[in-house]
Symmetry: C2
Subunit: 341 residues, 2 copies
């Protein structure tokens, strides 16, 4: 009953003794290797079961020269973006029996170095670097000796593999949906222009409207903050400067919440008067809105999954190179379609 590390867990030596065979034979029996009589295999298996034996992954890793672990380093404070990415990565890796060390640098380079050292001394087989912004960041280390994949961010060394959301495609999805609904006069309210993501979404939106012959241009985009407050403010601006506006695309769900707030106060109906599309498809935001918000989903879990797949390839010795985008997905709800709840 004594807890703590002084308690010895059962090892393969115990199993071998109980089954009356040598250690090597026990190992072979448990792993299906070598030439053994069926009866012997069964005897070993039974002994292992009775003793609750589970092989020591450390010892196995020491021998194999790899640890079946990878590190995920995020600068997002385990935030809204990195969590789904990590979840996706973890499920893709877990299927391959690989476990994940998750590290949150809180966006300080010093912590990043510290975690990096830790992961290297734990001999991880690979590394995923996740971020909150898709802007290129300094490479985490060009010559670490372990494969690295970037997810939701990219390295300034443009040769390193990076998995990114298709922000422009997301903006395009929003525009095409609104056009299909017959909307013709648009507003686009989004975050600060220094964010590459904001610019890409706007570009995709503008391109799609231009192709449809609509006069919505880059000059019409309202850049501001990623906040509800900015959404509230910008909504008034749009109503004043764009008479007849019948659709607003927002660069984030939070901005959309603010816009929706103002529209209600000034007596605009959603979606009858104005259709709204958000970005992120962040559950508490889109479902809490009234009506629920149509939104572009970046499929962050897919990004994590794809990043994991690229990492597995690199570990196998077939590295990939450069950026790679994952398509977005539009989720239609009440803010563009009255029938949908």
């Amino acid at each position: 009953m004594e807890p703590g590390p002084n308690l010895k867990r059962t090892t393969i030596r115990d199993v071998a003794a109980r089954a009356g065979v040598s250690i090597g034979t026990a190992s072979k029996a448990l792993n299906g290797q070598g030439k053994l009589r069926a009866a012997t295999r069964d005897r070993v298996a039974a002994a292992a079961r009775e003793l609750g034996f589970a092989p020591n992954v450390l010892a196995r890793g020491l021998l194999a020269g790899r640890t079946y672990t990878v590190g995920v380093i995020t600068t997002d404070s385990f935030g809204r973006f990195s969590i789904p990415v990590m979840l996706g990565a973890e499920s893709a890796l877990g299927a391959g029996q690989i476990s994940v060390f998750m590290c949150d640098t809180r966006d300080t380079p010093e912590r990043e170095r510290q975690y990096l050292d830790m992961l290297l001394s734990r001999r991880v087989d690979g590394l995923i670097v996740a971020g909150r912004r898709i802007e290129p960041r300094p490479s985490i280390g060009p010559t670490l000796g372990v494969p690295v994949v970037y997810a939701m961010t990219q390295s300034m060394d443009s040769d390193e593999p990076a998995i990114l959301p298709d922000d422009a495609g997301g903006g395009r999805l929003a525009a095409e949906h609104l056009l299909a609904l017959g909307r013709r006069r648009f507003g686009h309210i989004t975050g600060p222009p220094r964010f590459l993501a904001a610019r890409m979404r706007a570009r995709g939106f503008c391109d799609a409207t231009a192709e449809a012959g609509m006069p919505f241009t880059a000059n019409d985009v309202l850049y501001g903050e990623w906040s509800e407050a900015w959404g509230r403010e910008a909504a008034r601006l749009v109503m004043r400067t764009t008479p007849g506006v019948d659709a607003i695309f927002c660069g984030s769900d939070q901005i959309a919440r603010g816009v929706s707030d103002t529209l209600r106060v000034i007596g605009c109906r959603v979606p009858e008067d104005i259709a709204m599309v958000g970005f992120d498809n962040w559950s508490p935001m889109v479902l809490g809105a009234d009506p629920p918000l149509t939104s572009v989903d970046m499929c962050l879990e897919d990004i994590g999954r794809v990043a994991a797949e690229h990492l597995l390839l690199a570990i196998k010795g077939e590295p990939t190179h450069g950026p790679h985008t994952v398509p977005c997905r539009l989720v239609v709800r009440g803010s563009t379609s009255p029938e949908t709840p």
Copy 2:
């Protein structure tokens, strides 16, 4: 330049060779053990630095009989509650050079078993079980051979250590704050009564008002859902049934957002006419609200930190027993105090 596991990392043997000493001596020099000349220590240190040597934690752990890792198993899908808990735990453990395997069971018992097996075969030194609901749950395994601490949840075996938020104390904080502001006629809108947390918060709130001689009783509590929609609905109910109400305490920030929505629509001013207090202090919710929402913070990071401390004690061989609560904290914002932004 060849990546992958075939690339050998530098070992202590390389360091020893470069410094011209034996492996054992190198080890002693690096760890400050044994009797060595200062010059020798320096020579080894220099060699280690030049080669970028970091000891293989696996090999060290194999020898020490422990791995300097712990597992955190959560049923919260890396959600709003478990993330801060894990962050707190991780920072308390990281300071002790312990790394964390984070596992998300997505609330399925089968995955839980699977992760448990994985963690045990990785020989973690301990386990933290985190949850989304503070209701007692089945013990993860009474006789695992590793110490376990529950955080934000508890085991049905009431002897196992559990770190819980002081929900009743949180309700009490809200009541005392509103009373100090001179409010006298209350409403309390919260989640489903089957949630222990909802009942505890209500009890704390009622107790504190009773002690102040106010007539707010358990019968006045409005139980419903943890959603904005319920907040919108319940707000109308309160306005109808409680004339002169001047303060509403909500069991979650999301409910508070819904309430706030309705109040604006019917022309009630916050905080002048009605003061509002939420629960969770969930940033995007409380800061996005207009005015920003006063809220009770469960100090989830503290819960994680305390859980980690209890776990470290248990690993050291001094286990603790039974539930242990961590106090909440009230964060005052514009929804109760006009001066605060």
